[in-house]
Amino acid sequence: MAKTRYAPDKGLTARMTLTMFLLGLVFVAFIIVLVWLLSAFGVGSGAIIFFAILLGAGLTIGSFFYSDKIALSAARAVEVGPNDGPMAAKVHGIVDRLCALADMPKPRVAIARSPMPNAFATGRNAKKAVLCVTTSLMDGRLDDRELEGVIAHEMSHVAHKDVAVMTIASFLGIIAGLLVRFAFYGQLFGGGGRSNNDNNGGGAIVLLITLAVGIVVYAVSFLLIRLLSRYRELAADRAGALLTGQPSALASALTKVSGDIARIPQKDLRQAEPLNAFYFAPALSGKAGASLANLFSTHPSLDRRLRQLSEISEQLAR
């Protein structure tokens, strides 16, 4: 057996496992508290919790099954075939070769007209996957190797099923968020309208506790999900760089793209924000120096990503 040059990053794997474990832990604790609330105070808060979970599950399943359509229409992207012009032919050619290298089914390809040089991949599984690049990614500021690096990064997201993983991870946050909102409105409007005067005091306490629990769970899961998202980005960088064997090309694409994005007008930035988690480089990466910004961001800092890529480059040259 020949030696392998492609050792997995154990540290990254361990940190990602820990993050997922903590998310699961918060989820279990959340359920336990909810059950306790229900059993301690009767069904007063039951309806709120029930509706939050129902609506949360509905939203999660909906976004899971329609992730490709939602993301494509939000980015105003159009699906293209290999014969729809030189731009489409080029992307298809790169995707074809990378698929053959990685032995994975070919995703659909879409192009979005946008002044931001960026790319994203979406779709709930490899068969439904869509890979989208923006027109300005293709306008010549990236050379072919860099473009290939970006596409390899996105194809790794597909291979890692990141849409599914992040959707499931967000489920908890969505429910907690809904619960907070419901409890808040319940507090505002619910108290006086109830027929039963005896229960009013208890009901208000339940709502307050639900509100507090919801806020805590929402905050903690939000941070954990962002952390997980940053680890998934690093994993995709790594897999993409190993796929092409050109970590430095991906690194130079990253420096070019994040530099360009910081200079784009504000209006487009706001439009693109909801899609950030699936983009190649985040629209609001601006100053990555502050640690608080890092804590909330969906993508690792440019420094962190470049450092990993140069480690891989060293590993390949050995």
Partner: protein
């Protein structure tokens, strides 16, 4: 790829399958008998060069190795517009076995050097009397073949390709997923 690898985002580069390459000489005989497609004696290996000294050393060794044989023609090296490297070997038209042996030497050098996952495909070219061109493409990661018949203006002769699939279906493992029959326009030696 396992569930855990997906969950933890640690996909590994896929090692190539090499053995099926040796089915080409048999298929060449079939193609000639059934469809009048004759091997041109040219074949090529396509791979994605990795950056760094380690890979360029191996690439240099392979080129020297292939140019060393007693009746060896010089090996051509070209890079296509997608950044993939093609090593093109030339042999006598009737000596497909020697050609395949040369192609295999490239594979095993890369695999021994730890760069097996960089291999993309191998292509053996054929031609008939009327000038129709055909490339038999071997996908390393799948261990399967598919026919590629280019026409002018980046069009493909799908009829010929499907005909070839029928003819050599017994000799070769043909790639069942037509989506993976990707076009290799301007492949050297075709």
């Amino acid at each position: 790829m396992g569930f855990l690898d997906t969950l933890l985002g640690r996909t590994k580069p896929v090692p190539p399958k090499l053995d099926d390459l040796f089915a080409i000489p048999t298929a060449a005989i079939t193609l000639q008998a059934a469809m009048g497609l004759v091997p041109t004696g040219t074949g090529s290996v396509c791979f994605r060069a990795a950056e760094g000294r380690a890979f360029s050393d191996i690439e240099k060794d392979v080129r020297e190795l292939l140019s060393m044989g007693e009746d060896a023609a010089p090996v051509e090296v070209t890079t296509d517009s997608y950044g993939f490297t093609w090593l093109v070997c030339h042999h006598a038209a009737d000596d497909v076995e020697a050609l395949v042996t040369d192609l295999h030497a490239v594979n095993s050098s890369l695999v021994d050097g730890g760069f097996g996952p960089q291999l993309l495909c191998t292509l053996v070219s054929f031609r008939d009397d009327s000038g129709k061109r055909l490339g038999l493409v071997y996908l390393y990661k799948r261990g399967t073949f598919y026919p590629f018949a280019p026409l002018d203006n980046e069009r493909r002769d799908n009829a010929l390709e499907l005909q070839v699939r029928g003819a050599v279906g017994v000799d070769l493992k043909i790639e069942p997923d037509l989506n993976r029959w990707f076009a290799v326009w301007g492949a050297p030696g075709l």
